[in-house]
Amino acid sequence: MARAISRNSKIGWTVAAWLVALIIFFPILYTIITSLKTEQEAIAGFDLIPSFSFSSYETVQNQNNYFRPFMNSVVIAVGSTLLALIVAIPAAWAMAFSPTKRTKDILMWMLSTKMMPAVAVLVPIYLIFLRTGLMDTRTGLVIILMLMNLPIVIWMLYTYFREIPGEILEAARMDGATLRDEILYILTPMAVPGIASTMLLNIILAWNEAFWTIQLTTTNAAPLSAFIASFSSPQGLFWAKLSAASTMAIAPILILGWFSQKQLVRGLTFGAVK
């Protein structure tokens, strides 16, 4: 008897949950569907079944040269992430494995730099970029996004490293490992999963960044976020084409994102919620 009721309620909750999930997902789904329509179909009214025409993808690629902003996005997101990791790994490592009385304060201060509104430094960064020729270059964006995400990267790595028990390092030391052995054989293999998820989350954040990328690029270095923003001007209003460009811009990161749900919570809450 009790089993039967719980089975019915399970079906009930399932229906409710799927309904909510589909409503939330609908804008994305509808964009993907529209991207597979022709322009005439796209403005012909509500229809969930497209003609599976890939012409809009071709148009986006040919007319707007989608490939360049895509490559810019890749270079900027991956570049800024790698650069941040190079700086952050030693720092997080030191703070996790030889903490001092001030470690906590340093971490909190690093977090506080993340609280600074981007717009507060828009003016100086803009002027510096104009004067140093960094405007509309990938290098400039890599530097800015690296600095912007550095606190999150350090924090995430720190929380991962802290989970490596200190006794294991002591055991290695007792076993005769030098600092080099310790890093090579014990720490690195144990830290790799944490570093990988930090990298993943940071690539997502950098890919989706849409303040500095829009402010500091025009055409040459514009990544997808700036490229898509340019579609807001009236001549860009072709529904199927817009959908195709949008789908291409979000697809890679959507897939990466699905794999990094757990890390997302940890990274964006600075370890406050696990």
Partner: protein
């Protein structure tokens, strides 16, 4: 653990990150502060002069400034209300034993990975467009006349878009917190005869309190900086109806080339963000030990 050599090596390893962040924080902020006291317009750079508090005064007396502050508050509060309440409800729904939980989670989390300009464009053209949007289709289906969302309710439209983007974040964090709720505690309460509503109010909510705080604070930090969504949809209009502080400063700097004014606005934004930051740091700091 802390032997002498490791301590000095650790200092060396920390240094680059600390120095970089110090530079990133001090130099631009110092420059902003300096510019905020200058009459400095990029269209007429030769005429730069010391302005004293004029830029702040100018901002303070500009009616657009108060409208922007008000819009910022409404935007942040509106999105928080929707995402926290919606997040709790959806988190509890997903936490139930349901079929296909993994896929439901993926669907719900997806909007968070959509970059802001794309999210704004999708909603602007596919959903809220007065002639071709899905909302218009629905209205027509019921025989009503479609609403021109961005002209009639510009701020509300932006709130809806931003809430859609952040709802997954709130849901995911609240779900994580919900899953750490002690099942035996719930069963004990059930044995004690507490009805579902009481269990929610006296056990679930207090357990999630910390996660809710974190969601509110972190979202506030990001929501104060909403920019691309406004740029792509309403461009701050009509008038200043959907201009927030970030957008107002952007306008001053990039459209009016008023460096001094924009810098003064930036300093005001820092002060506002600091109010939130102090609370967030406390919440996070508690978890450090």
């Amino acid at each position: 653990m802390a032997t002498r050599q490791t301590a000095s090596l650790a200092r060396l390893m920390r240094a680059p990150a600390i120095i970089l962040l110090l530079i990133w924080m001090l130099i631009p902020l110092g420059m902003t502060l300096y510019y905020s006291f200058l009459n400095y317009n990029l269209l007429n750079p030769a005429n730069t002069s010391w302005a004293g508090w004029f830029n702040y005064q100018y901002f303070y007396t500009d009616p657009a400034f108060f409208e922007a502050i008000w819009n910022t508050i409404v935007l942040v509060m509106g999105v928080l209300l929707i995402t926290v309440c919606g997040g709790i409800a959806i988190a509890m729904l997903i936490d139930k034993p349901i079929f296909g939980q993994g896929i439901v989670r993926i669907l719900v989390i997806s909007p968070f990975f959509v970059m802001p300009p794309v999210a704004a464009l999708i909603w602007k053209n596919m959903i809220m467009h007065p002639s071709y949007g899905v909302f218009a289709d629905i209205a027509k289906f019921f025989g009503a006349s479609p609403v021109d969302w961005f002209a009639t309710y510009p701020l509300l439209s932006i709130i809806i878009i931003v809430a859609w983007q952040w709802l997954p974040f709130a849901t995911l964090i609240l779900l994580t917190s919900l899953q750490s709720l002690d099942g035996e505690q719930m069963e004990a309460a059930e044995m004690d005869g507490a009805p579902a509503i009481s269990r929610f109010i006296y056990l679930t909510l207090p357990h999630m309190a910390r996660a809710i705080t974190v969601v509110v604070l972190i979202q506030t930090i990001f929501l104060l900086g909403i920019y691309a969504e406004i740029l792509v949809t309403t461009n701050g209009g009509p008038g200043y109806a959907s201009t927030n502080l970030t957008f107002l400063i952007y306008r001053a700097a990039r459209l009016n080339f008023d460096i001094g004014g924009a810098a003064a606005g930036g300093i005001i934004a820092v002060i506002l963000a600091n109010f939130v930051a102090i609370f967030l740091m406390r919440a996070v700091g508690k978890n450090l030990d």
